[in-house]
Every structure is written in C-alpha cells, then in structure tokens.
C-alpha cells in the first residue's frame, strides 16, 4: 500500500505532491529485499548453526544427533559462552575488556583460598568472588574514564590480577574444592550444571538488554555515547557498567572452571578470551559497539563447540576445527559487508525522502 507511494516519490520529480507533510509512510515501507537481507544479517547465524547440525547429523550418524551428545556440546560450549557473554556485553557497551582471564583466575583463587585455607563457607566465598569481579570492573571502568585506552588499561589489570592470583595461592593450585561440584560436574535432570548457569546468564542478559531502560541506554552508549550524554544521561555510568558486567561474567567463568576441575588455578588462560571473541565476532557483534544480541553470541559459542565435537566424532584432528572456525569467521565478515552494501543500495534507490536520490 505504501510501496507505490515511495516508488512514485523515487521516480517522480520533486513535485508539490511530495511536500513532506503529505508523505507519511504507514509502517511497512521497507523494501522487501531489504527486509530479507536484514533477516539474514540478524538470523543468519541461527541458520548456519542448523546447517552445521544437519551436516554433522548425516556425516557423523548415528553418534552426533543424540541427547547425550547434545549435552556434551552444551557442556563444552558453556565456559566459552560465559566468557563470550562478558566480552560481548562489554563490546556492545563500547569496551573491550581483555582482563577477563585475570579476573576469572583472581576471583576463583580468592574463593579457593577463603574456602580451603580459611574455612569460609562456600555460600559466602562464592558471592565474594562475584562482588570481587564487579569491583575489578569498577576499577577498570574508573581508570578508563580518565581517557586511557580500555584495551591497554585492561591488559594492565590482566597482568596485575594474574600476579595477584598467584600471590594469593603462593603460585600453586588450590585443590580439594569438592564443595563446588554442584556448579561443576553435577547433573540435574541429566543436564550438566554449567548449562543451567549459561541459560540463566543469557536469559537475564537478553531481558536486560532488550526490555529494560538501563539495558537500552547501555546499548545506546556503546553506539554513540555523545548522543546519549546530550540527552542528559550520565553516559559514563553505563561505560563503567559495561566493565562491571564483564567482570561479573569473568568471575562466574572462573568459578565454573574451578568447579569443573575442583581446583583453583592461578594461571589465567588468555586462550579463553580468544575463543570468546571468536564467538562474539561470529555473532556479528560490532567491535565499534552499540550493536549485537546475546542469543546470537550464545549460538556463536555453540557453533564453535559443535564443529569441534563433530570433527572429533569423525576422528578428524582437532586443529582442523580451528581452521574451519577461522574460515567461517572471515566469511561472516564478507557476508556482513555484502549485506550492508546491498541494504544501503536498495534503501537509496527507494527512499521516499532521500537526499541521495538528487545526486543522480
């Protein structure tokens, strides 16, 4: 209904009929091609994952498409997913927090030390770790607000925290944290505990980002902090919030990793941040901030685990998984560029109130 209006406007001369007030698009004036492209951009990763599952289901039959294998994949993805949530939320708010492995190691070692060496109950030690993660975020945030590059700042805190973790434990791992298995290797209704943690984390995070005032502002600050500031909002508060949320995710990740092995390890594993970043990038979260969605990040982490799992079943060397993930990542970049370009071409061709069309 509205399509003919925009069509005639794009073809027509700037006649008086196009006097702006009379052209009121009624809603679905987005050209159909654009809607499809936007769908592909926003949902493409889900399609990719389904395709992968389909391929592996046949290629690795009958071992792949089973409940127990699904649980294996979910469990394997859990740790990456937790860190990816931290990295992803940070990036969406405009900060790349590289200190996550350090925060994780520090918080885990603190909990281990409190529980094993000081006899503190885990019901107290675990919340302390989470608070600690948040505090690390506050420190990162406040330093970055002084105008320093967050990447450098968090490389600094990564180093400090890794060192401090070793100071706490005396450089050794703290074994005997059997009390944590409830969030590690234990299964409830056949589903491993970390999977529940991931589900809860992503559910809360997604609701926060899409439904709440703070979440929407958080995202907007990532996109254009100046615009938000000019709306009379303290945008700095949301930047710090980005670090705080990352820090809490890292603490959760550290605790889960500790729970799985029942020992707190002071050696931060920087590798985890790269697989988390891969999941985030695969999910199309823009590194410039302000764009992205958590469910897609989760699928990104699941894709990494799915590929690794399928190849292991077929007995393919695991380094091929790394190669394939890398290729997928690069391909997704290309696809995104293509979609962006096509969308803007189409919009320019049909926009009913476009300044571009006059350049023709």
């Amino acid at each position: 209904m509205s399509t003919p209006v925009s069509d005639s406007a794009s073809r027509g001369a700037p006649s008086s009929a196009a006097a702006a007030d009379t052209v009121v698009p009624t809603g679905h004036d987005m050209p159909r091609g654009v809607a499809a492209l936007v769908f592909l951009r926003d949902r493409g990763i889900f399609i990719l994952w389904l395709l992968l599952i389909l391929v592996f289901s046949f290629w690795c039959a009958p071992y792949f498409f089973t409940w127990s294998n699904a649980m294996l994949i979910a469990n394997a993805a859990a740790l990456t997913a937790i860190f990816a949530a931290g990295v992803g939320l940070g990036v969406m708010s405009g900060v790349l927090d590289l200190s996550l492995p350090g925060t994780a190691a520090f918080c885990a070692c603190l909990t281990g030390w409190l529980a094993v060496n000081k006899g503190v109950s885990l019901w107290i030690a675990v919340p302390i770790a989470l608070v600690c993660g948040a505090l690390v975020g506050v420190v990162n945030g406040l330093i970055s607000l002084q105008g320093f590059n967050p990447i450098i700042v968090t490389i600094g805190t990564l180093s400090v925290l890794t060192g401090l973790a070793s100071v706490i434990t005396g450089g050794l791992t703290i074994p005997g944290l059997d009390g944590l298995t409830f969030m590690g290797t234990r299964r409830y209704f056949g589903v491993p505990a970390p999977v529940y943690i991931v589900a809860a984390l992503y559910l809360v995070g997604t609701i926060f980002l899409t439904r709440t005032r703070d979440g929407i502002r958080f995202m907007a600050v990532g996109g254009n902090a100046e615009a938000v500031r000019r709306s009379g909002i303290h945008s700095d508060r949301y930047k710090v919030m980005g670090f705080v949320i990352s820090g809490i995710c890292a603490a959760i990740g550290g605790l889960v990793a500790t729970a799985i092995t029942t020992e707190a390890n002071p050696d931060a594993s920087p590798a985890i941040i790269f697989s988390a970043l891969t999941a985030v990038a695969l999910a199309g979260v823009a590194m410039s901030g302000g764009r992205g969605s958590l469910p897609r990040v989760l699928v990104g982490a699941l894709i990494l685990a799915t590929i690794a799992n399928g190849l292991i079943i077929r007995g393919v060397q695991t380094y091929w998984a790394t190669v394939i993930t890398g290729v997928l990542l690069l391909a997704s970049l290309g696809l995104e560029r293509f979609i962006q370009k096509s969308v803007s071409d189409r919009l320019m061709a049909t926009s009913n109130l476009s300044v571009h069309q006059k350049k023709v």
Partner: protein
C-alpha cells in the same frame, strides 16, 4: 498565542566575552531572543556563531558577561544545567544512535516504564514509547519513516529531521522553551529544508524562542523575524529581517559594511 510574558526576553545575554586561550572568540556581545521569536545568527566562517550558541547552551562558560533566562540571572556549568532551564540545542554534527530505531532515539532519557512491578525493575513500555514518538512527530508534522526503522537506514535528510525533532520535542509544550539550532539544514535538499523550516515556524508559534545559526540566507528569509550578524567575534548588526536590504546583510557578513555599533567598539 501563549500566556507567556512577551516583554521579558526568553534568553538574554549581555556583555559576553569569551577567550580560547589567546584568541578572543567573542567580544562584548549583547544578544536576546523573545518568546515566540526566531532570530537568525549570521556571520562568516569563524565569526563566532557556534561559540555564541555554545555559551547559550551551557557548553562554554563566558569569561565575562551575564546570562538571563526569563529575567533570572543564571550561570550554566554544563549543557544539562541549560537543558533544565528549558534550553535545548541541536548540534552541528548530528547526534543520533545509529544502530537504534527512531523511537529509541526520540525517547532516550525520558523512557516510559511499564506499570506495576516490571516497571519498578526498569522494564520499558516499548509500545507506548513508539506511540508517543509517533504522535509527537505527527504534531510537529515531520513523520518521515516508521518508528522501528534504525536511524542508520534513514537518508541524511531524514536523520537531520529526527535530530531536530528530538530537541524540538523536548522543548515543545514548554512555552518557556528555547531552541538553539546550529546549521540545521546544512546537509539538506530542497524538500527537507522546507520541512525543517515549517518545523521551526510551528515551534515559534507555540511560543518557543528559537536561535538559528545558518549560512543559508533564503532560509533566514523564510523563518527569521530578526537577524543578528557577527563579524570576527563582534556583533555588527541586529536588524529585523523584513525590510532589511539583503545586500546590507551580505555586507555586514563579509565586513564590507561598517558595524551598526561602531561607537561601542573598544
């Protein structure tokens, strides 16, 4: 029109001096705008127009001089002080959040929360916000695209309209409001310029005081009641738009014509 007192200026600056380091960007400027009046602020590049506007919007503090809002002396420490006093500025560079839709851009900072417990938790009522944004744009007569369209998918003109509307909405309804516009039509084609012109006139009819910085003389002719012309940080003319020879205006802008206030120069 409105019951506003039309003898007190909405915004009144006197003897404003501003230095950027050694550069004296503004020298002894007097400036006022009445409720419902549109004042065009003209001048060549670097004349100090943006600087003067930033003084009004609280972004810069003058080294010398006083600012009165509706007769009351104020001192702005930040743009949010000015915006609390009812002064809204549209910046020369647009400030929209690209990835977000029109509705979010218009509603940010004044979100509608849901009723009941969800609202206490900070949940927003997306539908109500869209509806409100839609009706506000309708009232301004500038509805250009669906509310759910991300602003990055708008044309330059549409974006500018949204940016102007965002500030306009915040002052509209507030008969004491002041709207400051820095080059609002810089990137616009013919139709969009008309759109913004209409918007400015409608805002003024609501009793809002408007200051518009522009290089676009025809626009000034259309919307301004009065023009103030700056040259190298000094005010050289302050004349009603109607009845003033356009050549004189150009002369004051370029400096070819001597200042109306020669005797006051120090």
């Amino acid at each position: 029109m409105t019951s506003t007192d039309v003898t007190t200026p909405a915004l009144d600056l006197s003897h404003i001096d501003l230095h950027y380091g050694y550069v004296r960007a503004l020298a002894d400027i007097d400036f006022h705008v009445m409720p419902g009046e549109v004042v065009g602020l003209l001048g060549d590049n670097g004349a100090g127009k943006s600087t003067l506007l930033k003084v009004m919007s609280g972004a810069h503090r003058p080294s010398e001089g006083t600012i009165r809002v509706h007769g009351k002396e104020v001192s702005f420490h930040s743009p949010s002080d000015a915006s609390e006093a009812g002064i809204q500025m549209v910046y020369q560079d647009l400030a929209l959040v690209d990835a977000q839709d029109i509705s979010t851009n218009l509603n940010i900072g004044r979100e509608i929360l849901r009723k009941g417990p969800l609202g206490w938790l900070g949940f927003v009522d997306t539908k109500a916000m869209r509806k409100r944004a839609e009706s506000e744009l309708d009232r301004l007569g500038v509805r250009t695209a669906p509310m759910t369209r991300p602003t990055e998918m708008l044309s330059g003109g549409q974006r500018q309209v949204v940016a102007v509307a965002r500030s306009a909405i915040r002052v509209s309804g507030d008969a004491n409001g002041v709207l400051l516009l820095d080059e609002p039509t810089a990137a616009l084609g013919y139709e969009q310029t008309k759109l913004v012109e209409g918007l400015i006139r409608r805002m003024a009819d609501q009793g809002i005081a408007i200051v518009i910085v522009t290089h676009n003389l025809p626009l000034c002719h259309e919307v301004a009641d009065r023009v103030v012309i700056l040259n190298r940080g000094r005010k050289v003319a302050d004349v009603p738009m109607r009845g003033t020879d356009p050549d004189h205006i150009v002369g004051w802008i370029t400096g070819a014509r001597p200042s109306m206030f020669e005797d006051r120069a120090s």
